[in-house]
């Protein structure tokens, strides 16, 4: 990141934290949020409970504030309030949202409509669903100008600014004809079209691969600088925020628990939660063991007395239970945290990363060998001459950008896709292409965990039934023993047996993914194929899942085929890595070798594009 560290404290929390250094030469902040409180609309059944409370921050023109938090922390709720919106069932309980000194919360719906787009713009998480699929991109962009005025002649300029150099073909396309990165650029162009004062970006790069993400981030930064737009960038990914933000605000359980200049906050986090988050982020620099945080954030209305983070905090003292901690300023640039031991936490060296290298097991006889595999859909080749070997107890990562064919590879191995040529050898025997040709034993020994835990569990079955289904098919165990096995599987993935009668919708994303793992593990497989299993999860949850996976691999001698687009994660989990680009193996070898001394230009670019704290400061 290029932010000068002697920056003025543009994002110092308003009110309760005294600005120790007067912001010289800076007028009113572009955005000032003061004591924002958003509550669940009280009804007969439930009393008023705050979802977000005591949130205050400011953003200066041209600056980016990163708003970080796990799902459910209230970050999106805050973001929507900046546009004068609340989710169904919530209402604004107090506070102010000042844009250029004008409070937008008391405005009428009609007045707000005039502001949205012109004064405040919003870039959604999934541009694919935010763009109207039946209108051409050009038509939709013209619409923005038609509503908010402004010359349509600026169209190509706006497009160029968003990084779409040749706008003609894009304007004439429908959204589905564009790639994810292009869609997101169109959304950016739309947002910046009317030169807003403030732009709110809600995880706009989630779902994009690193290279595209890097370009989108650069575009956002550039546009904010050029037009002096203030930006609030919401993300659960600390590394991405480190990449783009000048200032960072961390949310936990509806409170802003830490705020400060990005460089300072990431080098010396003052809140134990921020520290924990940082330890959960995999790093390109070292294959440190990822540490997940125990427990889960409290739900609104269910907050413990005192500090909401106390039950999960390793620094908790008796005082934490007494009252909610007030912000403690830890530096003269306005870096502050809601923690009674903030100063102490800051003084701890770095983030105390336990850089324990994973012991690489000796590569034995490979369990799985893929040779000369090629796949085509109709005429289009998806994979060409792929060679790959996974040794016993070894963990091999397959890395590639979206569309590189890595998921197809996984589907071929597990037998979902059967139109491929070449050979796959498993346990010394050649593997038939489709599920039907394979023996019961082969089916049992190769298990698969899918990317999205929200769609991989049948919502109509209990957890016990979900895990029991494979068991019932492969083993004809009596009920008692089957229940025992289900219980064991749940315990193995660090859930309790009491989860068995529950339904998936009662579980969090991380818990669901554990159940999906339990379903795969209950059959004692030899090879586990994991397709982006952490990409739908928060970093702290991801860390916990990776921790669990590595432990299970150790205990059970599993071989892992780990498919991901997350390079730093590879570092933490894999022994060998194979980089795939456009259906071809581009580079493969031991992780340390490929990631530290990449041979091909493609891998080098991929590594350079990874966001991280390292570039900061």
């Amino acid at each position: 990141m290029t932010a000068p560290s002697e920056d003025i404290p543009v994002a110092a929390p308003a009110e309760e934290i005294p600005a120790t250094k007067a912001p010289a030469g800076v007028g009113t902040p572009r955005l000032a949020v003061e004591n924002l409180r958003i509550v669940m609309t009280p009804s007969r059944r439930r009393p008023e409970a705050d979802v977000v409370d005591q949130v205050s921050f400011t953003v200066q023109p041209g600056h980016v504030l990163g708003l970080v938090g796990e799902s459910g922390s209230g970050k999106t709720t805050v973001a929507l309030a900046l546009l004068g919106l609340v989710k169904r069932g919530l209402s604004i309980g107090g506070g102010k949202v000042l844009i250029d000194g004008r409070d937008i919360l008391p405005l009428s719906e009609h007045e707000l409509q005039k502001i949205r787009g012109r004064t405040v713009a919003y870039v959604p998480q999934d541009p694919g669903s935010a763009l109207n699929p039946v209108l051409k991109v050009g038509t939709q962009l013209h619409e923005v100008f038609a509503i908010h005025g402004g010359g349509a002649d600026r169209l190509s300029q706006v497009m160029a600014e968003a990084g779409l150099e040749d706008p003609k073909p894009i304007l004439a396309s429908y959204p589905h004809q564009l790639s994810g990165g292009q869609q997101q650029r169109v959304a950016l162009a739309m947002a910046f079209a009317c030169r807003p004062q403030l732009i709110v970006l809600d995880e706009p790069t989630t779902g994009l691969d690193v290279t595209t993400q890097r370009r989108v981030l650069d575009t956002v930064r550039g546009l904010c600088r050029t037009y002096q737009v203030a930006a609030v960038y919401i993300s659960h990914d600390l590394a991405v925020v480190a990449e783009i933000a000048d200032h960072v605000a961390v949310m936990y359980s509806g409170r802003l628990i830490e705020i400060g200049a990005a460089s300072e906050l990431f080098s010396r986090p003052a809140h134990p939660y921020t520290r924990g988050l940082m330890r959960a982020v995999p790093s390109m620099e070292s294959s440190h063991e990822l540490l997940g945080m125990a427990g889960s954030p409290p739900r609104p209305g269910n907050r413990p007395a005192g500090c909401a983070f106390r039950p999960r905090c390793e620094f908790a003292v008796a005082e934490c239970e007494l009252r909610e901690p007030q912000p403690v300023v830890v530096s003269d640039t306005g870096h502050a945290a809601r923690c009674v031991r903030a100063v102490e936490v800051t003084s701890l060296s770095g983030t105390a990363l336990t850089a324990r290298e994973r012991a690489v097991p000796p590569a034995g006889e490979p369990v799985l060998t893929i040779s000369d595999m090629s796949v085509s859909y109709t005429d289009k080749p998806v994979l060409r001459d792929v060679n790959l070997a996974v040794g016993a107890k070894q963990s091999v990562a397959i890395v590639g950008t979206s569309g590189s064919g890595k998921t197809t590879l996984a589907r071929c191995v597990v037998g979902l896709h059967k139109d491929w040529s070449g050979t796959i050898t498993f346990d010394g025997k050649q593997l038939p292409p489709g599920v039907r040709g394979r023996t019961q034993d082969q089916l049992r020994k190769i298990q698969f965990v899918a990317q999205n835990p929200y769609s991989s569990l049948n919502p109509r079955q209990t957890i016990g039934q979900i895990i029991g289904e494979p068991l019932a098919h492969f083993t004809k165990l009596p009920g008692r023993q089957q229940d025992q096995r289900i219980g064991d599987a749940l315990t193995a993935v660090a859930l309790r047996e009491s989860f068995a009668p529950r339904y998936p919708d009662e579980l969090s994303g991380g818990e669901r993914q554990r159940v999906a793992l339990a379903r795969a593990l209950v059959l004692d497989p030899e090879l586990l194929v994991c397709d982006e299993i952490t990409s739908a999860l928060d970093v702290s949850v991801q860390a916990a899942i990776v921790e669990l996976l590595l432990r299970l691999q150790d205990e059970r001698g599993l071989s892992l085929l780990f498919i991901t687009h997350n390079l730093p994660l590879v570092r933490s989990i894999a022994d060998d890595v194979t980089v795939i680009s456009a259906g071809q193996v581009c580079e493969s070898g031991p992780v340390t070798q490929v990631l530290t001394a990449p041979k091909t230009a493609y891998t080098q670019q991929l590594i350079a594009d990874v966001p991280g704290f390292e570039q900061t400061g």
């Binding site: 609309t41 919106l85 989710k87 604004i92 089916l443 919502p459 109509r460 494979p470 379903r519």
Partner: protein, 296 residues
Amino acid sequence: MARRPEAVVILGRAVRTPRGATGLVIAGCVILVAAIGPAVAPYSSTEFVTSPFARASRVAWLGGDVLGRDVLTRTLDGGWELLVMAAVATALGVFVGAVLGVMAAYYGGWWDSVIMRAVDVILAFPQLVFALLLVSILGPKIWLIVLAVAISHAPQVARVARAAALDISERDFVKAMQILGIPGRRIIRKDVLPNLTSVLMVEIGLRLTYSMLVIAGLSFLGFGLQPPAASWGLMINENRVGLIANPWGVLMPAILIALFTIGVNTFTDAVARASLGVGGRVTEPEPVALVAREVT
């Protein structure tokens, strides 16, 4: 912590809405009339009580029909068979249609083409014409009418079920079962069908009203229960010549058929609305529904 079946949850929610309660009460009244009618009817349905098309009197509260039989008795007598036939035809039609639709969606390819083209052929005939065709060839037998109506429903249900099942079949939890080598039949029964509950419930409601109308229509055209048996559809036909003299002979069965249809439709609408929230469990949690903000 066992959860009540989804169907029960949806029905429970639907009944608690004003719309659902109204629909259920209306349809329930008609069913009640048809069910206990035969037991409380003052005369026998074939007994000549008064003169043809006699006006309402103390002897015959709703007057006489074309042959001077009691309209009230025949109204009370003539619904049960109709309702049972409609219910059986609906159950059969929805079952067959759902199975065909889900098979087409799940297996795809050859299965899909054959099933859906067959469906298209049957859909080319209007429902009533199709039923008439079968009945006019094989004669007006009750089982045949039920079967004809069921067959005429199946293609429409199959289309709806196929569309819904296509989506479910692509879900990862179905894939997870497939890679274990679990046979398709079992996956359909355990994983696909349970996720179609709400869709099929709405379909049952809709098809029930159509069944009622088609069977009553057939009976009006003379292809239902044969005289002298009482049946609402038949009554309308028999008594229409005397509409001026004693309108009750036509009005009573017509009103009951209309009320039943309206009641079932209203209730189905409530079920469809109630199932929205429940069915939402299939997808990701917490869809961001933006509404105008409420400032307290």
